[in-house]
């Protein structure tokens, strides 16, 4: 290969789509390393503290798409204290100095400040796409900066961020010369937007394919917008609470959108709106009704039974088992299903049970991705599901009451989950719940050979449980555990494993400071972060609880050493 000119080698590398493949070829020799790094266009950083931003931009100066993820997954559920870290600033600063060609930035679970967005907006003349998912720290002023200065902006996608609202001005900051928008998602913006500014922006964006509005946008405004976007493929509505006359206008506007394949929003949707959506249903491949507690089982099923091409469905559990049976008989192409709880109280009553899941599994054999919140489950149901759907890639089951056993036999759910890992040979992500002993971990370790991410809560009897997973799951990248009886023995049972993983999270377990110190000493390429709750009652706790017990532990491999932005409550060993 060294006889080829570098341009040829670079061309060959351009056929390698996976980051892992490019990482591998860069290890072959110096020449390949150089060719690869200078031609790398997309870099994915799964943990922002795994590598120093300066180092990364020096190695890949010509990167065009940068993806960075910050806080651990359990931060979504308030298990990571605020001010833990995950700052976007250093990444944007470093890129601004070294990567002039940056076009796309994607960030998840990071703290992004307005000043970071301002720097971003001014630093990259070819900037095209900003995607922020579950981020916080910025306001609509930062968005105004992006709108004002990114002349070639194609994509502004804000998913479930916590954004401070400083008024509707930001949307009006898109200059009249901005006509390049392809995707605009501001569903998570809490405040109002100027309907006129929105309509004008849409009118001058002929390439718009994806538009997700926020709750403040009325049916009337939506109708006016849709007249301008006949090529729209993905729509997130505003609120659907108006009187019926508005829906007639909406209906005729929707009829023009022949390319519409995906629908979401439905904020505060009144049942009156449902029939007006019918003409769209036949073509839909994606439908998200999971923010709409105002539609009941019968409204939902009337809509969904017409969505015969549906591949992705997100709903609330008010759909009930009966509704899921309708889904099973109507949506034969279903690949992804998410059923969210409408009532967050743990001791509620069962609207969605194992029966709904079994119905889905027998009606939808292509199902590969599941997130299912329910109040009860049985081993028999899970065994049936596993047989019906051996193609699961993602299987996340959350039984709302911790440690709840099989609803009929009162046994642990080891057998059921065991069947899932045994039958679904391609399973990459698994979340388990309910009453579970070490037995389920034996099966996970034995059969979960493709498993990359495992989430454990209130499960297991002893250290053996965690050891089965650590020793058996060859491809494990992320392990997150809460409130399970695993101690230092399990933590230290296979320390070399952590080098092959992105991260480990353990909270509410039985690891101690001593155990963590041993880990940190044995494995210098890991950051071992411990966090203990410092609240008023902790003074009382220390006398009687175990003071060396670690509340929260986050371990990750890194080439960057201990980070210097950690708050007081984080101790890095």
């Amino acid at each position: 290969m060294t006889y080829f000119p570098e341009e040829v080698v670079e061309h060959i590398f351009s056929f390698l789509p996976l980051h892992s493949d490019r990482n591998t070829v860069s290890l072959v020799c110096r020449v390949w390393y150089e060719v690869e790094r200078l031609s790398r266009r997309a870099v994915f950083v799964g943990n922002c503290y795994a590598v120093r931003p300066e180092r990364l931009v020096q190695r890949f100066p010509n990167v065009r798409t940068l993806t960075v993820k910050g806080k651990p997954h359990f931060a979504d559920f308030n298990l990571v204290p605020p001010d833990w870290g995950g700052y976007a600033g250093p990444w944007i600063d470093a890129a601004a100095r070294s990567c002039m060609g940056l076009e796309e930035l994607r960030m998840k679970r990071m703290v992004v400040l307005d000043e970071n967005l301002e720097l971003l907006a001014r630093s990259f003349p070819r900037f095209k796409a900003l995607v922020l998912i579950s981020c916080e720290g910025f306001s609509t002023d930062g968005l105004a900066a992006i709108a004002s200065h990114c002349k070639l902006l194609r994509e502004l996608d804000l998913q479930e961020n916590d954004v401070d609202d400083h008024g509707p001005r930001w949307l009006s900051c898109f200059p009249d010369s901005c006509t390049s928008l392809v995707s605009l998602n501001f569903a998570c913006i809490k405040g109002e937007v100027n309907p006129g500014a929105l309509e004008r922006l849409v009118a001058r964006s002929p390439n718009l394919r994806s538009l997700r509005l926020n709750r403040s946008v009325s049916v009337d405004t939506l109708s006016k917008i849709l007249v301008r976007t006949p090529n729209l493929e993905d729509l997130g509505t505003g609120n659907l609470t108006d009187e019926s006359e508005s829906y007639l206008r909406l209906s005729s506007a929707l009829e023009k959108c022949k390319m519409l394949r995906s629908l979401s929003g439905f904020w505060d949707a009144s049942p009156i709106c449902v029939p007006f959506i019918y003409p769209l249903c036949h073509h839909l491949t994606g439908l998200n009704l999971s923010y709409t507690p105002t539609l009941d089982y019968s409204d939902l099923t009337k809509m969904i039974s017409r969505c015969v091409k549906l591949q992705r469905l997100w709903v609330l559990d008010c759909i009930s088992d009966k509704g899921l049976q309708v889904v099973a008989s109507s949506c034969k192409d279903l690949q992804e299903l998410r059923v969210f709880p409408s009532d967050f109280y743990v001791a509620g009553y069962s609207v969605v049970t194992e029966e709904g899941l079994v119905a889905i599994s027998s009606g939808c054999p292509k199902l590969s991705s599941l997130l299912y919140f329910c109040h009860q489950m049985t081993n028999e149901a899970l065994i049936t599901v596993a047989k019906n759907c051996p193609n699961f890639i993602r299987f996340r089951l959350c039984i709302l009451e911790p440690k709840k056993p099989d609803a009929i036999t009162n046994q642990p759910l080891d057998e059921g989950f065991g069947a899932i890992v045994r039958e679904c040979k391609g399973l990459r992500r698994l979340s388990i719940s309910g009453l579970l002993t070490d037995k389920v971990f034996m099966d996970i370790g034995k059969y979960g050979k493709q498993l990359e991410m495992l989430s454990i809560a209130f499960a297991g009897d002893s250290d053996k449980g965690m050891m089965h997973v650590m020793n058996g799951c060859k491809n494990l990248r992320k392990l997150e555990i809460r409130d399970s009886p695993f101690s230092d023995v399990a933590l230290l049972g296979n320390v070399a494993k952590y080098e092959t993983m992105r991260s480990l999270w353990m909270s509410g377990c039985n690891v101690t400071l001593k155990g963590c110190q041993v880990l940190a000493t044995k494995m210098p390429m890991l950051n071992v972060e411990i966090m203990n709750e410092l609240d008023e009652s902790s003074e009382m706790e220390e006398n009687h609880g175990d003071p060396s017990r670690v509340d929260k532990l986050y371990v990750y491999r890194t080439t960057a050493g201990a980070r210097n932005d950690a708050p007081d409550f984080v101790k890095i060993l």
Binding site: D162, G191, F344
Partner: protein, 214 residues
């Protein structure tokens, strides 16, 4: 140390054998409080307390925790989703609602919101409510008296509780000694200086005041 637990339990009128407790909830596993577990075994009223402890252990082994006490971060639902629901449970009309809800949303949405966690002077105390998925914090200095505090708690919790009334609940607090007290007995000033934590519990559970644990 004498505890409220043993005293009240011993003098309570109830059906059932002395020493047995119905409706015992085992400890939520995520909060192992060494101190609280030994409270019931303090030698105040040996027979009641010991049987109490035995019942608790039996319940803990036999049945999974009923988990009515809030477990932090459970169920695993994103704060964004939870905050969307809190605003949708009030008026359907978004235009008038948005402005009112803008404030509560930003304070109820995830932990990240810095304002909600500013602990100036340490007068912020945690407030938990039976059945609610996550806790809140209030600054006791903000209220002039018990009525204002009650109103604030009602606004914070009850609106998301499907229209239930705060009168169905007993507001209790944990004082400096770790005892669980009913709010309202002492002058408000004294209360704010000794209160460490607030807990809103169902009245049915509050009959034997000590049966509540953390």
């Amino acid at each position: 140390m004498e505890t409220v637990v043993g005293d009240l339990m011993a003098t309570e009128l109830r059906l059932g054998l002395p020493g047995t407790v119905d409706d015992m909830k085992a400890t939520p596993p995520s909060t192992p409080r060494g101190k609280k577990r030994t409270t019931a075994a303090d030698p105040v009223d040996d027979s009641a307390a010991a049987a109490d402890e035995a019942t608790k252990q039996r319940d803990a082994e036999a049945a999974p925790p009923a988990a009515k006490a809030p477990v932090v971060g459970w169920p695993p639902v994103r704060s964004y989703r939870k905050s969307c629901f809190q605003s949708s449970s009030s008026k359907p009309r978004s235009k008038p609602a948005t402005k009112e809800e803008a404030a509560p949303i930003s304070s109820t949405a995830a932990a990240p919101s810095p304002a909600a966690n500013a602990t100036a002077g340490g007068s912020f105390v945690k407030v938990s409510m039976d059945g609610a998925p996550y806790l809140r914090k209030v600054d006791l200095r903000m209220y002039k008296g018990y009525r204002e505090l009650r109103e604030a708690l009602e606004a914070m919790f009850v609106s998301s509780n499907n229209g239930a009334n705060l009168s169905e609940f007993a507001v209790t607090y944990e004082d400096k000694d770790g005892d669980l007290m009913l709010v309202g007995d002492v002058p408000f000033e004294m209360f704010t200086s000794t209160c460490k934590k607030l807990r809103i519990m169902k009245r049915s559970e509050a009959t034997g005041l000590g049966s509540a644990r953390q």
